[in-house]
Amino acid sequence: MEKKPVIELDGVSKIYRLPAGDVIALDNISLKIQEGEFVAIMGPSGSGKSTLLNQVGCLDVPTSGTLRLAGADVGEMSDDELTDLRRDTIGYIFQKFNLIPLLTAYENVEYPYILKYREYDTTDRVHNLLEMVGISRSHATHTPSELSGGQQQRVAIARALVNEPKILLCDEPTGNLDTKTGEQIMGILEDLNNKGRTVIMVTHDPTTAEHADRTITIRDGCIV
């Protein structure tokens, strides 16, 4: 069955121009990821796996080559369009959780929703998501610094899901968590994937990568 890929990279390169010479972070990468796939990207430090994730996540644009997300060419988008794409189509889960310290857990989850719909959530969606990832209503009123790492990552997952993104991008989602908590987080991600969401995960932990359907290994900016 030939499905249209949700993510399509065609000859993507990323070159950082430094005074000491160019650094090729990604070297002519071509890659297709179908909707509903769970892909793990592995590789040693400095291999370019995070750079690849940043391209897919529209945080950065390729130096050359084309990147299509859900059919749209990212290279032709303005900064605002890229921002909206990040808001609506992509959900991020970071190693350092990256919650906004000023907002409560609830507000952190609600924030992208407000950015998208320009109004506060009245559909109980935020509460339902928090419940789904295992954050109780009493915990929802706490700020990130008052929560444990595992709880913060759960909040971050809820935040990533609030705008129903097609793609979930995870950068070492269990990197800052103990094994047991990490397993719980991976359980949630696997569950989400089973419900049809495309998940792309960067990791250097082979155990974590076992959850994925497909593993791509990167070394020196090339897929091996």
Binding site: D80, L115, Y120
Partner: protein
């Protein structure tokens, strides 16, 4: 939307998070607003009180005979020349013309001489005015005693009274003893202090009745000076024109001096000073702007990672800029409000101490400096937040996320 905008909410929380820093930044604005507002109010109050004082003398038009070119200074400012060489005067018929031109404004004529006087064993010289008895209450105010009822009773100015220890009932000898023309008058009233004036300087003078004056010095119906007290200072030009029209059509018979010019000059000088002082006060707002700028730059660089997060989860550049501008605006508004309240209090005391009266403090022209200074404070605050805000939005989200 019932609840405040999320961007505003974030801005408020950021300001609160660094409370002390925010307070210090806002303090700069407070000081700037207070300085500008109280200096502005002081200047206005000074202008208003000086204008009020001066306009009492500014409503006077002085008509004097045209001496043919030159113009002999300000008549009534004291010593006119002695009687015999003075052939310039305003005649009875000219006086009628002036009265007609003056319309409903009060007009009176004035004789004046400077003569030797002696009180007991003290000798001196004084200006002696002669005026119609019925005009006296209109022009002069008696502080002690009463207006003259007999020909040889006089009023004297407070300075003269003090100098010679005169009280109502005392007698003054006027004229040169050796020439045998000495006359004795009785003081019946001492005038209130009047200050400098264009028409009549009564503080150091003897005011005699017209009858006595012309009886002593002669010159009845030959008026060296006619004064018009205007009901409204703004009529000065119209009345002047009317007099010129009546009397100076063929040849210049009289000259009219309008004291409102002097008032204008003084008011201009005061307002120039006010502007200058406010300029100095403005420097304090400039310093406040630099401090706000510094605080905002610190805030931006401290929150690099946070800004990276905001950007990565879908906050547009404009929204991030807005957040920082809001933060600056909050500091500005809070600072301006506190500054506005304080400047009302501090301004009141500054005016009280510097001007000596707060009669004019609540005039709109004075109070307008409070909202004006507040507006300037807020604008400066927002402007100094613009660059840091813009700077924050230019960050590369990838780099920003890697910052600690």
């Amino acid at each position: 939307m019932k609840k405040p905008d999320i961007i505003v909410k974030l801005a408020v929380r950021n300001v609160r998070l660094h409370f002390l820093r925010s307070v210090l930044a806002a303090l700069g604005i407070v000081i700037g607003v207070v300085a500008i507002a109280s200096m502005g109010m002081m200047g206005t109050n000074m202008t208003l009180s000086v204008t009020a004082e001066l306009s009492e003398m500014a409503n006077v038009l002085v008509v004097s005979p045209d001496s043919g070119g030159g113009g002999g200074g300000m008549p009534g400012m004291g010593s006119s020349s002695s009687s015999d060489d003075d052939d310039e005067y305003i005649s009875e018929s000219q006086l009628k013309d002036i009265q007609r031109a003056a319309g409903s404004n009060f007009m009176y004529y004035l004789y004046s001489e400077t003569e030797d006087i002696s009180i007991g064993s003290d000798d001196g010289r004084a200006t002696i005015y002669g005026m119609a008895e019925e005009d006296m209450p209109e022009v002069l105010t008696v502080d002690e005693g009463s207006y003259p009822k007999t020909t040889s009773s006089v009023l004297i100015g407070p300075t003269l009274a003090e100098k010679y220890d005169l009280v109502p009932g005392n007698r003054i000898k006027i004229g040169d003893e050796d020439e045998g023309s000495q006359q004795t008058v009785r003081v019946v009233g001492i005038l209130e202090e009047k200050g400098m004036s264009m028409d009549i300087n009564s503080d150091n003078a003897i005011i005699a009745t017209e009858k006595w004056f012309t009886g002593t010095f002669g010159g009845e119906g030959e008026y060296p000076q006619v004064n018009i007290l205007l009901d409204d200072v703004n009529d000065a030009d119209a009345v002047t024109e009317a007099i010129e029209d009546q009397l100076n059509r063929k040849e210049d018979e009289v000259q009219v001096q309008d004291s409102s010019r002097m008032l204008e000059t003084v008011t201009d000088t005061v307002s120039t000073l006010t502007t200058f002082v406010m300029g100095i006060a403005g420097v304090s707002l400039l310093v406040a702007a630099v401090s706000i700028f510094n605080v905002m730059m610190m805030s931006v660089s401290e929150r690099t990672r946070e800004n990276g997060i905001l950007r990565s989860i879908g906050t547009r550049r404009r929204e991030l800029i807005k957040m920082f501008v809001y933060e600056a605006a909050i500091l500005g508004v809070v600072g301006a409000i506190i500054g506005g309240i304080l400047s009302m209090i501090i301004g009141y005391f500054v005016v009280l101490i510097m001007i000596g009266t707060t009669d004019y403090f609540f005039y709109p022209a004075s109070l307008v400096y409070v909202p004006a200074a507040m507006a300037i404070g807020i604008i400066i605050c927002v402007l100094s937040g613009v660059y840091p805000a813009w700077h924050s939005a230019q960050l590369d989200p990838v780099e920003a996320l890697q910052a600690d």
